[in-house]
């Protein structure tokens, strides 16, 4: 009993938050150092070049390792930074681009779904169909039967943007309120 109360007396004299906080504070260095603004912009430009390469070679198999090597990063770092900058992983971005291109080819009406799948660089019809349906909201066959939407006559760069599959069907996007 006396030992317990002696300990209680000691404990009661300690600052209240003592047990809740780690004994050593401020000695763990940040794992990633903060880059300067100029370095940050250079890093973003590197990511832009990666994204442009994905765009340029969209029909090729995606090799994140090779892309990362070209940008002097590890594949994991590239994927993380890419997602932070562009809101989706390199693979997801690539699939979005392929589906976008597939939508355009399907609207033409002269290619089968299978042809379009391989034309845009997808190796698996199943993956292509699943992803297409997720992003577009209907299967590729149904989209093809639907035919061309009324985008004829609007400027090409706008047409590309309005017919782009909506990413936020599958990922939540927070829009800032306008008022």
């Amino acid at each position: 009993m006396r030992a317990v109360s002696r300990w209680a007396a000691i404990l009661n004299r300690l600052p209240a938050g003592c047990w809740a906080t780690p004994v050593r504070r401020g000695t763990i260095a940040p794992v990633t150092s903060r880059s300067t603004p100029a370095q940050h912009l250079r890093d973003l430009a590197r990511l832009r070049r990666v994204r442009d390469r994905i765009d340029r070679d969209y029909a090729q198999p995606l090799d994140v390792e090779a892309l990362a090597r070209g940008a002097n990063m590890s594949a994991g770092h590239l994927s993380r930074q890419f997602r932070l900058a562009y809101g989706e992983s390199p693979y997801s971005y690539l699939m979005t681009r392929r589906i976008e291109r597939a939508m355009a080819l399907l609207r033409r009406g002269d290619l089968s779904v299978t042809d379009v799948c391989f034309e845009v660089g997808c190796a698996s019809l199943g993956t292509f169909t699943t992803r297409f349906t997720e992003l577009v909201g209907m299967p590729p066959g149904a989209y093809r039967r639907q035919g061309a939407p009324e985008t004829a006559g609007i400027p090409p760069c706008v047409s590309r943007q309005v017919t782009r599959p909506i990413r936020n069907r599958e990922a939540p996007v927070t829009d800032p309120p306008l008022d």
Binding site: P37, H40, L41, R42, L44, A45, L47, R48, R49, R51, D52, D55, R56, A85, Y86, A104, L105, R107, R108, T151, P156, C157, S159, R160
Partner: protein, 136 residues
């Protein structure tokens, strides 16, 4: 009505680099170069289109922008999601080769697009998206 498109603006991050791109690689004329406080506003345009120009401006130089907005603009420019323009030429392949040889970042090789145009795309030194349509 007698209204024409006169001037559009594209930001630059390095006046020397952007001049090299628009004047030397694209072959535009330099119509004006206004310097103020170390910043440059450079007016360029193709010789065959004297009435229409692009002004290359320092980024976020307008008054009334917050620091956050300035930073966002700088980040979007670096990420390549900020500004875009469409140019046109009769000889797309030769233009593409010249741009590629100059070391400019390629976005897209000459491609027949489903929207009825054959085009290619590059980045200018500031990361702006420069599309080039083939004139038929």
């Amino acid at each position: 009505m007698d209204i024409s498109i006169h001037t559009t603006f594209l930001p630059h991050t390095d006046p020397g680099a952007s001049l090299a791109f628009y004047r030397d690689t694209l072959g535009f004329e330099v119509r004006k170069d206004v310097e103020y406080n170390g910043m440059h506003w450079i007016t360029v345009g193709p010789a065959g289109q004297p009435g229409t120009s692009i002004v290359l401006t320092p980024p976020a130089a307008a008054p009334g922008l917050t620091d956050d907005e300035r930073r966002t603009i700088a980040e979007m420019m670096a990420k390549g999601t900020y500004a875009m323009i469409i140019l046109a030429t009769a000889d797309l392949d030769r233009t593409f080769e010249r741009l590629q040889a100059s070391g400019a970042d390629v976005i897209q090789e000459p491609t027949q697009q489903p929207y009825g145009v054959r085009d290619c795309a590059f980045r200018d030194p500031a990361g702006n998206h420069i599309r080039i349509n083939e004139l038929r």
